[in-house]
Amino acid sequence: MISFRVDVDPREVVFIKSLVEASEGIASIFADHGGCLTFATPAARRSALVELLDDLVAHHGARVEALDSADDPIHGGGR
């Protein structure tokens, strides 16, 4: 299991949650507080989740931090 911390504008949380829920099985998402979210997914789905996170960074101003890797925030580990 791998996980990412994702910080977004709180107004984007429902949109992003909708995206994840519509992307069947891509990740589980947990809202910590405000716009602070945690994404978790099996390692086998990492590349699909990272693709989505790339979009959130590019189009929604998200800041992403891999919680299970010390290297590149998004692309670290087995992509």
């Binding site: 984007e12 429902v14 949109f15 949650k17 909708s18 519509a22 189009h59």
Partner: protein, 206 residues
């Protein structure tokens, strides 16, 4: 309108009050406003901004009929600001979704949101979840009786009652796909500002 003759001003304000409860008055307001010149429309909006706060009428009742006929971006923005001065115009909690799926998997959805009195706002979207939107149209105000219903057809596709949450999730995918293609989100969709309101989480069964 501070220098307007008092009887005329009283009649104007009485008519504005009627917009909150009389569907005929709201339709008439849209028709009259639509027939005005650019200067006349600006003057109408200025009068609303001056008189609106003193009336016991929801702002949406004063402005929504105008939005249905206005095409000038600056005045549309002015109308939206006026409508939203009371808070969000549309509640997603009471919004109903219809959706139809074509043979080629493209979709048409209608989100029907109560506005006030006998009026609703309808957001129409033709989209594909993996490529984005074909078109989006916002009917800012229309009678509830003429709103689309389950079983109606849109572009030949039968609309079915569909959980709102499911439609919103599909629209989120379409928005993502739209942005991946480098295209902006249609302005009409931005007008339906509470589409991703947090309250939708409590609305899975509608």
């Amino acid at each position: 309108m501070s220098d307007v003759e008092p009887r005329i001003r009283a009649a104007w304000q009485e008519w504005l009050n009627a917009l909150g409860s009389d569907p005929e008055a709201a339709i008439a307001a849209a028709q009259v406003y639509g027939a005005l010149s650019s200067d006349g429309r600006d003057a109408w909006l200025t009068a609303l901004e001056e008189d609106g706060p003193s009336l016991g009428v929801p702002k949406v009742a004063l402005y929504a009929p105008l939005l249905s006929v206005e095409v000038d971006p600056a005045r549309i923005e002015r109308i939206r600001r006026g409508m939203e001065s009371d808070g969000p115009v549309v509640s997603m909690r009471h919004t109903v979704a219809l959706r139809g799926v074509a043979r080629d998997k493209s979709r048409i959805a209608a989100l029907i949101a109560p506005l006030y009195a006998d009026f609703v706002q309808v957001l129409w979207c033709s989209y594909r979840t993996h490529t984005g939107f074909d078109w989006v149209r916002l009917d800012s105000i229309q009678r509830a009786a003429s709103a689309p219903r389950a079983g109606d057809r849109a572009e030949g596709i039968v609309l079915e009652a569909t959980p709102l949450k499911l439609v919103v999730e599909e629209l989120a995918l379409a928005i993502l796909a739209q942005r991946r293609r480098g295209h902006e989100i249609p302005d009409s969709m931005v007008g339906f500002a509470n589409l991703f309101d947090a309250k939708i989480d409590a609305d899975t069964g509608s």
